[in-house]
Symmetry: C2
Amino acid sequence: MTETRIYTASLILIGNELLSGRTQDKNLTFIAKGLNEIGISMLAAYVIPDVRETIINLLNEVRTKYDYVFTTGGIGPTHDDITTECVAAAFGVGTYVDEETAELLTKRIQARGEIMNPARLRMATFPQGSELLKNEVSAAPGYKLENVFVMAGVPRIMQLMFREAKKHLRGGQIIKSRGAVTDIGEGTIAAPLAELQKRYPMIDIGSYPQMRQNVGFRVSIVLRGTNEHILNRAHEELMGFLHDLGGNPIEEDPQTTQGSAEPEDLK
Amino acid sequence: MTETRIYTASLILIGNELLSGRTQDKNLTFIAKGLNEIGISMLAAYVIPDVRETIINLLNEVRTKYDYVFTTGGIGPTHDDITTECVAAAFGVGTYVDEETAELLTKRIQARGEIMNPARLRMATFPQGSELLKNEVSAAPGYKLENVFVMAGVPRIMQLMFREAKKHLRGGQIIKSRGAVTDIGEGTIAAPLAELQKRYPMIDIGSYPQMRQNVGFRVSIVLRGTNEHILNRAHEELMGFLHDLGGNPIEEDPQTTQGSAEPEDLK
């Protein structure tokens, strides 16, 4: 039996530091690619501040709208870590201390010559009904409550929590992708590309100009779709007309994350 | 006269490539910092796909909610560049071809030995009532319609458009920030930090753990506020108690964007 339904997700990145420009998020691309691999499409991402009402309202808006919701950030021990109380409030449940987590945290903390305290105990506190997403690095787990997965903001820890989260995820058809890069302009390829899109409505075709170091402007074209046979046929046609236009097309793997930015900012 | 009102903004990053994990956005931090410098706070950012209804609905939701709205992406010549038609639809206006832009584009295109075509003319097409945000790199401008600023996705070009956009922006009080980095854990500093936050309600205090190459876990603390005198006093207290706790605090500039990620992903 092939699963044909599309599974959807949204991501909430929580933290003032992301909106002030202090912190460059790297979690979105990691989670997006991880979801793609198991047949779940991320349809929206939100960057919001550490503001109680904002977090609660958005959680309640998106958790009924998408199959899965992921959050990063705000689950540490300090006063600005308010994600857990917001998740509990959004679901209308209380919180509890997980004894096993509290014990493990205490052991780790004492091994560092420090003491357990109320702030640290917050990292063993979860909304009622949560299933924990443990990780071997921090002892403080993320958790799953219904379709909401709450994870740390620090990428190394988030990635371990996401690995645990995956065990709970059910995906549908996997979206495959193929790409090409060409040295002719978007304006030249726009018409045949639009034609290709019309002939292949099941394939999502994107065109991305970028400035590349040393070589200058290039255009990447990405084809995405669930039917590999159709995808390959569309890709073949793409390579064909790019070649005919003198665009020196080279196949390019769209799974590799590209910086949209050049190394140096403009002065 | 000092302007005391807080000016707000939100940012819409448009593009399937951001949600598939193919492209790592770098525009958010650049725009956030540029707005901060002139007294405008970014309160939300959205990453959305190239879907007409999604773009139109979000534009209409946020343009009444924030003083300014910025968008990046989707203003090129290809079929997936639908931002301009969505902005026009959101405002309920038609579009027009700007003759001066069309002429300049034609000149540039002909200089490259290529021809003007309907696809390229789309880059000279704007919603009625727009003011253009010209830039010397691409000849295709961004534009401003009321409080919405529409910019390219390619960072080099976006940055030039944003420089133009700034001429139209009015900011309020500038939020200043000071920071510190310490080598003791968040659990140890949580209580005195929460105390500090209580004593300085006008200062926004954030605590950010991170894994740093070679040195391991560190915690950065960021203080933000409009009153420099109060900010400095709070910072002095912060450095004092971090020192007393044996945390070897070092002053750190919170304006420098930090990767939240480690260089290598976990295998």
